[in-house]
């Protein structure tokens, strides 16, 4: 059962990669990796370059270090950049809490409880994973507009509290199914009800799945542009992606250095989560196949 997560055993089933061949493989991989990563490194370095150097120097090391790009970018918009970071953080935090609570509850019911129409509802749940947001966005907008929620964070957070990110329900169902049922039964013999079992047995054992959920929710919400673009038009409520877009469309193309600096600021947290949570990310993708 653990065969898929076990670290790659050193196999020789396709012939040992030895000597020259191994060298060639490493060389090719390194070149490929360099090509892949070069734009990112270049943007990082460009965020420290003066404008004329951005346009002329494809290299990675700035000749003149232009630290002021960051200070300039930070204050280039109507609000200082921390406002946008804060707005993004509020939405991200709400989304993470929402997904963790609502998706795990639904997942527990799907994985452990018997109720009528379970099979059908499960199929519906899987179907909603694939449903394009574009199909429902207009009525959603009308709904939230009628509730007076446009230009608030609610349209971005409330759906998460209602487990509409079915992908995570699926992820957790898969995970809970892998936990031994004897644990539930033991808990029930000890007098645990369904909520007790969920809170004291299932949730603690689900930590890896919860971590995967939290990390993915962070990255997706932090990166999300479409729904924020639709629901947040008020200048005070702009988030990091919206601020970047505003920056680019207003002054950006004349001040690439500052724009790159803020782009690096925007990518920083994702990169951090990538480094810290790689294990969970890779596992989440391998289990469910969604990026």
């Amino acid at each position: 059962m653990t065969e898929t997560t076990a670290p790659a055993p050193t196999r020789d089933r396709r012939g040992p990669a030895t000597g020259l061949r191994r060298f060639v493989f490493h060389l090719l991989l390194t070149v490929a990796a360099m090509v892949m990563i070069y734009p990112l490194l270049w943007m990082l370095s460009a965020s420290f370059k003066p404008l004329d150097e951005i346009f002329t120097d494809p290299g990675l090391f700035p000749n003149t270090w232009e630290w002021s790009n960051y200070a300039e970018g930070w204050t280039a918009l109507p609000h200082p950049f921390e406002t946008y970071i804060w707005n993004s953080m509020v939405i991200v935090a709400g989304s993470i809490v929402g997904n963790l609570v609502s998706c795990s509850m639904a997942a527990y019911a799907f994985a452990r409880l018997r109720f009528p129409l379970r099979g059908m509802l499960f199929a519906v749940m899987l179907g909603t994973i694939m449903l394009p947001i574009h199909v429902v966005i207009i009525p959603q907008y009308i709904l939230f507009n009628n509730l007076g929620w446009v230009d608030t964070f609610w349209p971005l957070i409330v759906p998460k509290l209602l487990a509409t990110d079915a992908f995570f329900v699926f992820l957790m169902v898969q995970f809970i199914r892998g936990l031994p049922r004897e644990l539930d039964e033991a808990a029930s013999i000890d007098g645990c009800g369904y909520w007790g079992t969920y809170l004291r047995i299932i949730m603690p054992l689900c930590m890896p799945a919860l971590a995967t959920t939290a990390i993915f929710t962070f990255i997706w919400t932090w990166n999300d542009f479409y729904s924020q673009l639709i629901y947040l038009r008020d200048v005070d409520l702009q988030t990091v992606p919206l601020a970047l877009r505003l920056f680019m469309d207003s002054t950006g193309t004349t001040n690439w250095g500052a724009l790159f600096a803020m782009s690096i600021v925007a990518l920083g947290p994702i990169f951090g989560f990538f480094l810290a949570g790689q294990r969970y990310l890779v596992r989440g993708i391998a289990t469910t196949g969604i990026k």
Partner: protein
């Protein structure tokens, strides 16, 4: 969080239908506190656990879906709308911008997805050889697909493929004078395709997980039968990997039909130059949220859904001819 062992990945359950019925009714020593049998109490518990999801399904997903379908037969705009029958759909047939948007989206999808999956498969096979430093390479190749959807990367792309961008600076070293790729109607879509291919990391990881599933004994048996490395690749690796290739194909086609952010940022929201990056999603946004012609936009949304559904169904139909479900899967 150290329980690595609990965290097993089971792709075999992926194909799952409904979860298996629990074995024999779990014996719950019911101290019969409340009314009702154990069965009904389990149902009430299920309802309470499911209630957020059910509410979300009705209010955020199914309700809006039905409403969207209804709206597509009206000329709804900002609070006012009347039933217009099939007018929106008739209008589609005579809308050259829509036809163009379908074409652009289709070209984008059918060029970028095969390239992306090809790159993912190639790299997965190379990385599966158990080279030292494999996890480092894997991370480097994976990183772009995490970042790829963000506005920051789209901004970067816009500069890189701009007139004085990184690509042209590199080309200049070889004495080539490059175009302003993102602002040229013939090339702008190409830059988006390159961006999509750049994010091959997540399908690559799925391929890697699939390759690990292939039992080594098949390779040994093939070797005993005298199959060379190339033959083993074509006759063992590829057939056994076809379910994963299929899975990735379905998923990536669905995803790329819905691409929005990068095209929006690269073209400043206009789908330009000359509508050359006007995806269906951008056109929908333009009609629904810029022109506020929400009836027509809803019809476009259903067109998008129909296109995605048709290609997914085709994919499943065709899978009979090339996807191999042996005893391995």
């Amino acid at each position: 969080m150290t329980d690595n062992d609990v965290a097993v990945v089971r792709p075999k359950q992926r194909s799952s239908g409904p979860p298996p019925e629990p074995a024999a009714p779990a014996k719950r020593p019911a101290p019969n506190r409340g009314r009702g049998t154990i069965r009904t109490r389990e149902r009430w518990a299920a309802l309470s656990f499911m209630s957020p999801w059910i509410l979300g399904l009705l209010a955020i997903t199914i309700g809006p879906m039905v409403a969207s379908f209804y709206l597509s037969f009206t000329d709804y705009s900002l609070g006012y709308g009347e039933w217009v029958g099939g007018e929106n759909y008739a209008r589609m047939l005579e809308d050259p911008r829509l036809a163009n948007a379908i074409k652009v989206t289709a070209v984008y999808t059918f060029v970028s997805v095969p390239l992306q999956l090809g790159a993912a498969l190639l790299l997965a096979i190379v990385l599966d050889r158990g080279l030292r430093g494999m996890s480092f390479y894997r991370s480097v190749f994976y990183l772009p697909s995490l970042l790829g959807g963000s506005v920051a990367i789209a901004i970067m792309w816009r500069q890189i493929f701009g007139t004085e961008g990184l690509v042209n600076q590199v080309l200049a070293i070889f004495g080539i004078q490059g175009e302003g790729w993102v602002s040229h109607p013939d090339y702008a879509l190409g830059t988006l395709i390159v961006l999509h291919v750049w994010t091959f990391g997540s399908p690559m990881i799925i391929f890697l997980a699939g390759l690990r599933q292939i039992p080594a004994m098949y390779y040994e048996a093939a070797k005993v039968d005298g199959a060379g490395p190339l033959r083993r690749f074509w006759s063992v690796t590829i057939p056994l990997l076809t379910p994963i290739i299929f899975f990735n194909l379905v998923l990536q086609i669905i995803n790329s039909f819905q691409s929005f952010t990068q095209a929006f940022i690269i073209s400043s929201g206009k789908g330009g130059p000359a509508d050359s990056t006007m995806f269906l999603t951008l056109y929908l946004y333009d009609q629904g949220f810029t022109q506020f012609d929400m009836g027509y936009a809803s019809a476009i949304a259903w067109l998008l859904l129909a296109i995605i559904a048709i290609f997914t169904a085709l994919n499943f139909l065709m899978s009979k001819f090339w996807v191999f479900y042996g005893d391995n899967d």
